[in-house]
């Protein structure tokens, strides 16, 4: 049956019927859900997020043609593995931004430019996104980031240096900041 299903996923892809491919991958924080469209990575689900709920959301907002097709996510899995090993500091993956719109997308694009091992405040990000007073909106954009890790919202802290929040839970945010040498381990 496994062979049949692999053949099916491959054929769906070549016939242009694979609108959303997904896979899970292990991380030091637990399993991650990765989803891609033909355009690029569209969703990263963190270990504490409900994977069924995320897939249902993709079915509704992108297309119900959602298939488990790990081969489509090989590159993303490889880069994330290297990142968690501390051997990759910049992701080189095509991204599909369709799940964020307008100001939120500007915020996420600003976050995507924060270099490895550095942090910014919500205020700095709001300013970068073109509205220095929209600090709260910038926070919401971080909080609804559909591409955590790859769009490194864990590098955004409160102005005083407090951690702020994280979709994957604060221990994960701390773990990522330690991995990148921002926090002492």
């Amino acid at each position: 049956m496994r062979d049949s299903l692999n053949r099916l996923a491959a054929r769906a892809s070549t016939e242009g019927l694979l609108d959303v491919a997904y896979a899970t991958t292990e991380s030091p924080f637990g399993p991650l859900l990765l989803a891609t469209t033909p355009k690029g990575l569209v969703r990263v689900g963190l270990p504490n997020q409900d994977a069924d709920g995320l897939l249902l959301d993709l079915a509704t907002r992108v297309s119900p043609r959602v298939l488990e097709a790990p081969a489509q996510l090989d590159q993303a899995r490889r880069e994330l593995d290297l990142y968690f090993e501390g051997r990759l500091t910049e992701f080189d993956l095509p991204l599909d931004w369709r799940l964020s719109k307008d100001f939120r997308r500007k915020v996420l694009r600003a976050i995507a430019r924060i270099p490895y091992g550095q942090t910014r405040s919500y205020t700095q990000i709001a300013t970068r996104a073109g509205n220095e007073r929209a600090v709260r909106a910038a926070g919401t954009a971080c909080g609804t980031n559909p591409l955590p890790l790859v769009v490194p919202c864990h590098r955004v802290l409160r102005s005083g240096g407090a951690l702020g929040g994280y979709g994957g839970g604060l221990p994960m945010k701390e773990g990522l900041l330690r991995l990148e040498g921002i926090l002492d381990s």
Partner: protein
């Protein structure tokens, strides 16, 4: 519909996040189907691939079952976004499998050498495994389809009739005849 905008927020750090792992079973599949008309296509595969494969085996035999299976799911995937009613996805898939089996037999029929006399005979030879589906494969087409849809596809008589394009009584009769023949073959 859930926008999934609020599982977390940078301003909610006072409330400790619950630690957990990716839990694919938190939302029961049944609930998903109620919430959304069309669940992710993968749930159709997870829930029904085994049944579809069983229908294909019964309808075209073990050797060609995977082709029938692939054709069925590709056709389903193609049509899926336009599907109006997500209520009976299993019946929908089984019916597609039945149609693909007919296509398969037609294609095979076109390749076949003409004979002087065409009777109500089996479309494939019984298979060597000697299991029950080999015997089903040796039934005349209508009986074979009725038995397959009933026992591999688990369809009610009304849906078998719809798939076969006959009355429920005729479907019941084909099923009955098929079972009678099977009992005799396997006795």
């Amino acid at each position: 519909m859930s926008e999934l905008t609020g599982p977390y927020s940078p301003f909610s750090s006072d409330t400790p996040e619950e630690e957990g792992r990716v839990s694919r079973s938190v939302v029961p599949r049944r609930l998903i189907q109620e919430v959304s008309a069309l669940p992710p296509f993968q749930t159709l595969i997870d829930d029904h691939a085994g049944d579809v494969m069983a229908v294909c085996r019964g309808a075209v035999g073990r050797g060609d079952a995977d082709d029938c299976f692939q054709e069925t799911f590709i056709a389903a995937l193609r049509a899926y976004p336009q599907l109006r009613d997500g209520g009976n996805l299993r019946g929908w898939l089984v019916t597609i499998a039945h149609r693909k089996a007919i296509d398969h037999h037609r294609a095979r029929g076109r390749r076949a050498v003409p004979v002087a006399e065409v009777g109500e005979v089996a479309v494939t030879d019984p298979e060597p495994e000697g299991d029950i589906w080999a015997a089903v494969g040796a039934l005349p087409p209508k009986q074979r389809a009725a038995v397959t849809l009933r026992y591999a596809g688990d369809l009610p008589h009304s849906e078998i009739a719809a798939a076969l394009g006959c009355s429920p009584e005729a479907a019941r009769r084909s099923l009955h005849e098929g079972l009678k023949r099977l009992r005799k073959e396997l006795a």
